[in-house]
Symmetry: C2
Subunit: 255 residues, 2 copies
Amino acid sequence: MIASLGSVKLREPRNPPAVLAKNKRSKAVHAVRAAAAGSPRRERINDRRAVILRAALDLFSRFGLHGVSVDQVAERAEVSKSSLLYYFANKEDLYVSVLRDLLTLWLEPLRAFSAEQDPQTAIANYIRRKLVLSRDWPDASRLFCLELIQGAPLLRDELAHELHDLVMQKAEVIQGWVQSGRLAPVEPVHLVFALWATTQHYADFAVQVQAVAGRTLNDPDFFEQTVDNVQRIVLHGVSASSTRKPTPVKKRRTP
Amino acid sequence: MIASLGSVKLREPRNPPAVLAKNKRSKAVHAVRAAAAGSPRRERINDRRAVILRAALDLFSRFGLHGVSVDQVAERAEVSKSSLLYYFANKEDLYVSVLRDLLTLWLEPLRAFSAEQDPQTAIANYIRRKLVLSRDWPDASRLFCLELIQGAPLLRDELAHELHDLVMQKAEVIQGWVQSGRLAPVEPVHLVFALWATTQHYADFAVQVQAVAGRTLNDPDFFEQTVDNVQRIVLHGVSASSTRKPTPVKKRRTP
DNA sequence: GTCTATAATTGGATAGAC
DNA sequence: GTCTATCCAATTATAGAC
């Protein structure tokens, strides 16, 4: 099994741009594992691991577990294959290690919901935060999406517990907002799904967004336009009869 | 081609219901190759191709191009590997053949948008139609999603033309609705994205939906609840101040 | 058109030197 | 901890009989 990168990107040259950088926070994420670091030696080891994890995320998010060879990850991380297999027991261990780090990042914005907040503000903030994530870590979003689509065999347990519990807990908060009349009647889980879907879309389907809109979230103007529109749609809907702040749409180029 | 409902139920035994039928268009699509069909022999060949394509969709949508071997597709289609490779030049040819059929199906609901419609009805209908697709062909949705996430190397051209043109055309329709005051001010592409995202979510992330809500679109009650909630959110928003038809939420179990 | 056998390659994982 | 060399399983694709 397994395939070469070549077979996916048919029309592209080998050797993708060695750019990774960009993601300065990755270290923070992996610091979970670094736990009781301290000694400079530990640090170096964790750096090494972090570099490998970063490379793995980059490749797995684009080609999937089976679309990437251990060799390719090693090459991108600039370590030898054997060295990589010193840090991670095997390919799957590497893959799961990447995924675990993502789950925390992924669920973070939802945790912010709490009953005492103003629901409209909470939702507007959530949308912005999630779109920031989609902009800054699109590959994290994509890898998570890939895994979910394929039935999340490696995350099933976490989904069934951690995620389920969190959503149920927040569903109660939302339900409270509805019952107190501060939110229109809506089934909480569907609101959560709508929030996830509309925001992650811009990361997961960046290619499609680019094809259709000509821009992605990396364009600051498009980013703000997106935040604004998603907030409007979810909060006020597109129905003309809806009461809404009379925020006229600025004349914007839509390529 | 097209999918069986079976692909959602992940823990089931091999050999899904050999049902395919259902989509009579598959034959028409492959008729490209069949050229001047007609003879019963030609028909049998196309059946064979269709069975293989069906099996391929089922597997590719769950494991991706690289997660499935030609042998596995052959086994599921109940033909020998060599026989499969008689109908399709190679693995990639098979994969692309599956994808091409999907694009049409995928874009169909959007084509229905036309200026003379009432926007609210058009959007409500779109949501229902797309959710029907998500329910009945979840693996079609997923395979398309998989391909898009990975940058759609094999669909890039179609995306850049067919899809781009269609969306631009419908964006004008939406823009017209906004300008005539029949729709709240919204940037058309973002509305399109929101419609896609919220509806496909239920197919692509069926595992997550199952984990969180305890049900999927296959449950008729949950299906109607989903249609209702997505329509509300997109049309009227969740903001309590919105004018909305006073449709009280029926008391529903949310496991 | 379909099958069996097999060639040719890829890629995960390990052994063992340094 | 890191590297080179290598083993071995899995897979794509083809050859050639029927």
